[in-house]
């Protein structure tokens, strides 16, 4: 069943057409992969879906509801969380503060209480522990290395507990062994019902984890289907993977 869908999305920047009549459907409860060459519009599509940009035309639907013109906070309130290709964390706050920001609280009075409450702290530490950043809890997030910031972003998105997670290149700059653990966590969360849409270039990672893969090319969808099918599709090989999909050696 389609959970999140885009229909006929067009987005231009000056002379450049980033998204051209783009129509795609992402399945509920699945780990969806989104791949394609640099410049094919993947991040722009994420921006449009999460309210950071409005399309020139077209529609974005979530559970059948039109969310095309929603703002980032409305999108989040609907249950969609995302990470960014160039990590967006809060650099002047400490690592633990960053994670606590994502912990949701309801009600005005609750906002005025201390930010470090025991149950939230436990979740924050669990999340940090998973990505291995516990020892750095009190360091300003801006002093972390690039890969560590990526992990921090993953950690706080987990704490926010969205129903849908849009991950923009979660593997970039992340050590391979740690990446395996992230993959494991994604699968665990998926079993509890979280839907994923993952933009990635790391083919081994994508093929190993995704139930569905969509390929973008020059601003629109090229093909959608099971990983094995997509991986061997001649058009995809031509446009993106190169005729030899194995790593250069």
């Amino acid at each position: 069943m389609t959970l999140l869908g885009v229909e006929g999305i067009v987005k231009n920047y000056g002379g450049i057409q980033a998204l051209r009549n783009c129509t795609m459907n992402f399945q509920e409860g699945a780990i969806n992969g989104l791949i394609g060459p640099n410049g094919s519009g993947k991040t722009t599509l994420f921006n449009v879906m999460t309210g950071y940009e409005t399309p020139d035309s077209g529609k974005v639907t979530f559970r059948g509801k039109d969310i095309t013109n929603s703002t980032p906070d409305e999108v989040f309130a609907a249950g969609i969380g995302r990470t960014f290709q160039l990590t967006r964390i809060f650099p002047r706050l400490t690592v633990i503060e960053n994670v606590h920001i994502a912990a949701q609280r309801k009600g005005l009075v609750a906002q005025m209480r201390q930010w470090s409450q025991p149950d939230e702290r436990a979740r924050a530490l669990e999340s940090l522990d998973f990505v291995g950043l516990t020892k750095l809890s009190r360091e300003p997030a801006g002093s972390l290395s690039y890969g560590q910031q990526k992990l921090l972003e993953f950690a706080f998105i987990m704490v926010a507990e969205p129903k849908v997670m849009l991950l923009d290149e979660p593997a970039g700059g992340v050590n391979p062994t740690l990446l395996k653990h992230l993959g494991g966590r994604i699968k665990e969360l998926n079993k509890t019902g979280v839907t994923f849409i993952i933009v990635e270039h790391d083919m081994e990672f994508v093929m190993g984890i995704c139930d569905q893969v969509s390929v973008m090319h020059q601003g629109s969808a090229l093909i959608e289907g099971k990983p094995e099918i997509v991986r061997n599709d001649p058009a995809v090989l031509e446009a993106y993977l190169g005729t030899d999909m194995t790593e250069v050696n």
Partner: protein, 241 residues
């Protein structure tokens, strides 16, 4: 060509590098791998002069470069391509590349180098007049490589050259790295795509918690069972699928 000895360095919050001893052979492609936070980018910054070591020595072609300014190190023949995108988005591709030769005053040399580089990176030729910000990730990386070579460096330092690039573009980058070696340059790179990086490299270095854990040929490190499990993503086959 390049030797680090007992190097301690950090950013004011404690040492990231805690006694690094490393030798980079002339004409090699040396790839540094390791967990996140090990100090790989910091190591590169010490080499290119963006960070002065607190202790220890760094020698390049026999001369000490520890603590020298980035300009002096550039003039000495070391150029780094940063991990993050570093082109000036509103300048054209040509302007970006020419800026690589900022330290050279002789315009004739600059133009000559520029033309040589265009031959090496044909893809750049078509996009010379375009604003650098309008290029795709792989194209920008290529321009960054071209720019780096304008100073004709003896040592090229690359921080995660294939990061964020699609497979085809990443393969092209590795092709350029081999090309640099063929030109007689030495390359020092950091790569999280360890299979590709160590496969490309002649020498490998495993860095962890600010120290060198292991050195050897790329192949040796890639196949070292302990390293595999600890830092390199487990086995290269789908054994544990």
């Amino acid at each position: 060509m390049l030797t680090l000895s007992g190097v301690f360095a950090g950013y004011g919050g404690g040492d990231i590098l805690r006694g690094v001893d490393l030798t980079v052979e002339k004409g090699s492609i040396t790839c540094v791998v390791g967990p996140n936070g090990a100090g790989k980018s910091t190591l590169l910054k010490v080499v290119s002069g963006l960070l002065a070591p607190r202790l220890g020595s760094v020698t390049f072609q026999g001369e000490s470069i520890a603590g020298k300014s980035p300009q002096a190190i550039l003039k000495g023949g070391i150029v780094q391509v940063m991990q993050a995108r570093s082109l000036f988005p509103d300048l054209t591709v040509r302007e970006n590349i020419e800026l690589g030769a900022f330290l050279i005053n002789d315009q004739k040399i600059v133009q000559q180098r520029f033309n040589e580089i265009l031959d090496q990176f044909p893809m750049v030729k078509d996009r010379l007049k375009d604003k650098a910000g309008s290029l795709s990730g792989g194209q920008q990386r290529t321009v960054e490589f071209a720019r780096a070579l304008m100073l004709d460096p003896a040592l090229v330092v690359l921080d995660e050259p294939s990061m964020g690039l699609e497979p085809k573009a990443a393969a092209a980058m590795y092709g350029y790295v081999r090309q640099m070696r063929e030109q007689g340059r030495t390359v020092l790179l950091v790569e999280q795509n360890v299979r590709a990086g160590l496969g490309l490299a002649t020498h490998g270095v495993v860095l962890e918690a600010g120290r060198v854990r292991l050195t050897g040929t790329g192949k040796e490190i890639l196949e070292n069972p302990q390293m595999k499990v600890l830092y390199l993503g487990g086995s290269t086959q789908q054994e544990d699928a």
